[in-house]
């Protein structure tokens, strides 16, 4: 059984335990879920490391490899957030998201192929890693924002809990934004090295700029206009739609220079 399959099984189990713990209000079951999630993260890390070793290059070059990495990133951010802020409602959905990413990744072409000439660069690691840290944090921020929206919509009254979700979502976006900026700008620097221009309105470039602008807008609405709660949560969720499209939709639907499948 491959490390990827073990991670899939563990993320699935973690997801079930989180939901069970949440529904029956048993903190003990939630703790078991966290432990299982940690196991999933370890085996996910092993999967990334083994592939790195086997391919002899960073495993960040096609959809399969990216999804394995992003699943790791989401699960890790979720576990850190849970331990630090003691909000366990996030874990169930983060485990589910990691599970979906890995599950989809494992049905794609898993063959190890030599790197395209344009990808052979040290910029690959910094550009892609910055993005994946950002995407992991944004995924968890979006889960918090979405839970906020659903709870506010159903007139859930625990103000304190809602506020902590709102604050958490904001802090994660604040954390992700510098990484998003590093990812976007190192992309421009690398494009200048590889293609002789720092910006060319390639679909991936355009979508990632739009995504960056939306989160910049989020931060400004929050700090300059005092938006809070449902208003910013809606922007956060909308922003993540753009993240998903930038990450996957562009490759699958639009082509261009970044269409590594």
């Amino acid at each position: 059984m491959s490390a990827v399959n073990i991670s899939i099984a563990l993320y699935f189990a973690a997801c079930v335990f989180y939901f069970a713990g949440g529904i029956f209000k048993r903190p003990k079951i939630v703790r078991i879920a966290s432990a299982i999630l940690a196991g999933g993260i370890v085996s996910n890390m092993v999967a990334v490391a083994m592939r790195w070793y086997m391919a002899g290059r960073p495993p960040l070059s096609n959809m399969h490899e990216s999804l394995v990495f992003i699943a790791f990133s989401i699960a890790l951010v979720s576990l850190i957030v849970e331990l630090k802020y003691e909000i366990s409602a996030i874990g169930a959905f983060a485990a589910l998201m990691a599970l979906l990413a890995l599950g989809y990744g494992s049905i794609l072409d898993t063959a190890i192929t030599p790197l395209l000439p344009a990808l052979k660069s040290n910029w690959l690691i910094i550009h892609v890693t910055a993005y994946f840290i950002a995407y992991g944090a944004l995924a968890v921020a979006t889960i918090a924002a979405a839970i906020y929206l659903v709870m506010a919509w159903t007139h859930f009254s625990d103000r304190e809990f809602l506020n902590s979700l709102d604050g958490l979502s904001f802090r994660l976006i604040l954390f992700a934004f510098p990484f998003l900026t590093v990812g976007l700008t190192t992309g421009a620097v690398w494009a200048n090295v590889a293609w002789g221009r720092y910006w060319g309105w390639d679909p991936k470039e355009t979508w990632s700029l739009i995504t960056w602008l939306i989160y910049a807008l989020y931060l400004h609405l929050r700090s300059m206009r005092g938006w809070r709660g449902g208003q910013t949560a809606a922007v956060a969720v909308a922003g993540f739609v753009f993240v998903v499209f930038t990450f996957m939709g562009v490759n699958l639907l639009m082509g261009g220079l970044h269409s590594y499948k």
């Binding site: 000439p117 344009a118 590093v182 221009r197 720092y198 300059m224």
Partner: protein, 325 residues
């Protein structure tokens, strides 16, 4: 009268510097960028889009200036906003001063001009191609994928014309008889090649198993056709090598002297006196020439300085926030 002008100017300035203005511009730019993605209209090079970006720059400048004069600005925020302004300035420099074009250069040849597509620009020095080197991922341009149903074999082979290949544990052997780059059947029903270009690459193979021998044409353009024809063995032909690494070794001649010898490959441009040479293309047939992209863009340095400021700014912002909380 003067009072009124002053009042109007102030009001205009306040509008320009407002967050509302920024939010509106954010939304407009996002909408325009989306329109560019989903329609065939070239939004990004339209003058109104440049105007939108300019308005964004002015708003950002006004905003930042106002906050500095109000003494409300923090260092991280200031650096990141200055960074964006510097990037926008660099983009303007690029748009006004950058030149780019292509050269196709053969081994041993020295060129001192490049084509932008519309005109030929001279360079203040010459560039000579000493050597072009290409490493292929596969050994030959002919790859056959073989499926044998009864032996449950699926295999890929790099083949050469004249070679005979045994298919592992299936009893089949395949002899590659002939290669035709641009197959065409003439009025006398003879197989001819229309040209030397790979318009319709085809391979004639002889498949034998025991005493059964069969000749078959494989077409790279119609791989499924040959896969379906036979019940037991299917062959799909892929023509063309995929390039691994390709590099051009060049020497720059300035004022009659060889000044610099270097190797250009993907991700490794060569720079000299403000010109950058990128590996862009090559002659796939004879490997006699290389295609280089020539770029002279003084805006790049400005943009990169802005990128540095922006990154520094956002990192400081994050750090200050995390220290505070």
């Amino acid at each position: 009268m003067r009072k009124m002008i002053r009042k109007t100017v102030r009001r205009l300035w306040e509008t320009l510097a407002s967050v509302e203005m920024a939010a509106v511009l954010f939304v407009l730019i996002i909408a325009a960028a989306l329109a560019g993605v989903f329609t065939s209209y070239d939004v990004y090079h339209a003058s109104w889009f440049a105007g939108l970006l300019a308005a964004f720059g002015i708003n950002l400048f006004a905003c930042t200036a106002q906050r500095i004069s109000a003494g409300k600005v923090r260092i991280g925020s200031l650096l990141s906003h200055l960074g964006i302004l510097v990037i926008l300035a660099g983009v303007i420099v690029s748009a006004m001063l950058s030149e780019r074009g292509q050269i196709s250069i053969s081994e041993g040849e020295t060129l001192n001009a490049y084509s932008t597509g519309r005109r030929v620009n001279r360079m203040p020095f010459g560039i000579r191609l000493d050597d072009f080197n290409l490493e292929w991922k596969n050994q030959t341009p002919h790859e056959i994928e073989i499926v044998v149903r009864d032996a449950r074999v699926r295999q890929s082979l790099d083949v050469d014309v004249g070679g005979i290949y045994d298919i592992a544990s299936s009893g089949y052997s395949i002899e590659v008889m002939r290669f035709v780059p641009d197959l065409f059947v003439d009025s006398g029903m003879n197989v001819v090649s229309r040209s030397d270009n790979p318009g319709n690459p085809a391979l004639l193979v002889r498949i034998s198993r025991g005493d059964k021998v069969e000749a078959r044409w494989l077409f790279a353009r119609y791989p499924d056709f040959t896969m379906e024809r036979d019940g037991n063995i299917g062959l799909a032909y892929k023509f063309g090598k995929s390039p691994g690494d390709f590099k051009s070794t060049v020497t720059i001649f300035d004022e009659g002297k060889g000044r610099l010898t270097g190797t250009i490959e993907v991700n490794h441009p060569l720079k000299y006196r403000g010109y950058s040479f990128y590996q862009a293309n090559y002659d796939p047939a004879s490997l006699q020439w290389t295609g280089l992209e020539v770029v002279r863009d003084p805006g790049v340095h400005v943009v990169f300085a802005g990128i540095l400021l922006l990154n520094l700014g956002v990192v400081i912002m994050l750090y200050r926030r995390s220290v505070k909380s």
